[in-house]
């Protein structure tokens, strides 16, 4: 019994089938609960009620980065061990990551308007997220453009690898280019100034909720891709017969 057994599509389908209802249930519970709890928090003395936006903004931003990392790991597994489910999972994750990036950007812009007095500022964090979004778009476009599924998996895998290096490089290049307005991480363990627990616990719940939501969507999307691949394989076999 090893983790690689789940690389077998049939085994993956069977396992996720039983897992999905629980996952969807807990994802809905946690994300709706966390965001709604966040919505009910009292006003911050500086930010007023706009502090409520943080319960969408921070989890979405966190997932935007983590989904790219997950895609990188999945691509590496595909390139090294050639497990199809891994490549399909990376493909399935990309649109979710793009939407998360978009949510982080949109909620940030809406929050920035009254707080910083501008929708958009060429601040390092904002710029990095825009760049990350560009990488997601390029990755999705490449998957859509290549017809042969194995070639597509290989090419997007290489792109993901190179893209990861350059996304990281851009992050620091941008930091050099312009020092920003954006506040530092408010949840980091080291920083002395901590977020009040009134906001912290709903935020944790919302983050967990977004993570579970991603997991549920990822599994469903991967199942979709496996079914599509199976259908294409069956049709190809009949064409030959």
């Amino acid at each position: 019994m090893s983790i690689w057994e789940y690389a077998n599509p049939t085994k993956f389908m069977r396992t996720t089938e039983g897992l999905l209802p629980w996952l969807v249930g807990s994802a809905v519970l946690c994300s709706v609960g966390g965001v709604f709890w966040g919505f009910l928090t009292p006003e911050d003395f500086r930010q007023g009620s706009t502090v409520k936006i943080v319960f969408l903004h921070v989890p979405a931003a966190m997932m935007a980065i983590n989904i790219w990392v997950m895609m990188l790991v999945a691509s590496l597994i595909w390139i090294i061990r050639r497990h199809h489910v891994s490549a399909l999972a990376a493909k399935a994750a990309a649109p979710i990551g793009a939407i998360m990036t978009l949510i982080a950007l949109a909620t940030g812009a809406i929050w920035g308007q009254p707080m910083w007095g501008t929708w958009w500022e060429w601040d390092p964090r904002l710029t990095s997220f825009l760049i990350l979004f560009l990488f997601y778009v390029g990755y999705i476009a490449l998957w859509a453009a290549v017809e042969d599924p194995d070639s597509a998996a290989d090419l997007t895998g290489v792109l993901c690898l190179v893209g990861s290096v350059f996304a990281l490089l851009s992050r620091y290049a941008v930091l050099f280019w312009n020092q920003g307005l954006h506040q530092g991480a408010s949840l980091s363990v080291q920083s002395g100034e901590r977020m009040s627990s009134v906001y912290r616990y709903p935020l944790y719940l919302a983050m967990l909720g977004f993570f579970l939501l991603f997991l549920a969507l990822l599994l469903i999307r991967t199942r979709t891709e496996i079914r599509r691949r199976r259908l294409a394989a069956l049709q190809a076999r009949e064409m030959r017969a």
Binding site: L134, F135, A141, L155, V158, L159, A173, V174, W177
Partner: protein, 218 residues
Amino acid sequence: MIALLIRDLRLATRAGGGFGLGVAFFLILSALVPFGVGPDRATLAPVAPGILWVGALLACLLSLDRIFALDHEDGSLDLLATAPLPLEAAVAIKALAHWITTGLPLVVSAPLFGILLQLPVQAMPWLVASLALGTPALSMLGAFGAAITVGLRRGGLLLSLLVLPLYIPTLIFGAEITRRGAEGMATATPLMFLAGITLGVLALIPFAAAAALRVNLR
């Protein structure tokens, strides 16, 4: 290797090879920008470094799909892949040929366009230096993008979508060097960063590009 380089250069300079197209594009861009933002020296001079660098980027992008597309069509790419020369080296040579036909003319002609855009004279050496240092990375990254999209029917637009985000670090440091040069500030730090990026790209990207080519030739 040298034979491959000479062949690529000869193909590029022949009629229909597109040699000098990048410079012509650069010229048109430099002529268009003042119409867009106004002829005022006070508005042109501060944006000149950025415009020149973005222009160089786009001019480079124009000819990228030629790196592998023509060889893919007539089958010589398959020969290259089976040749005793490692594909990585072939990719590097092809990127070098692209740089000589596109990047080098840009580097040489950039001061001319700097004058058109009212770039201060003291920034000229920095402009040339930053372009000379940065454009090899642009050609190499472009070769990677071209290797990924070589078999695709509508590869051109996708190529720019994939390659442009990869150009961001080079653009940031290149334009920063020129801007600092124009304002008479120290340029050593961005110069070092740019050199680091270019060297890293030259060392590692040929492997990624060759891997992508092998997939496309499978």
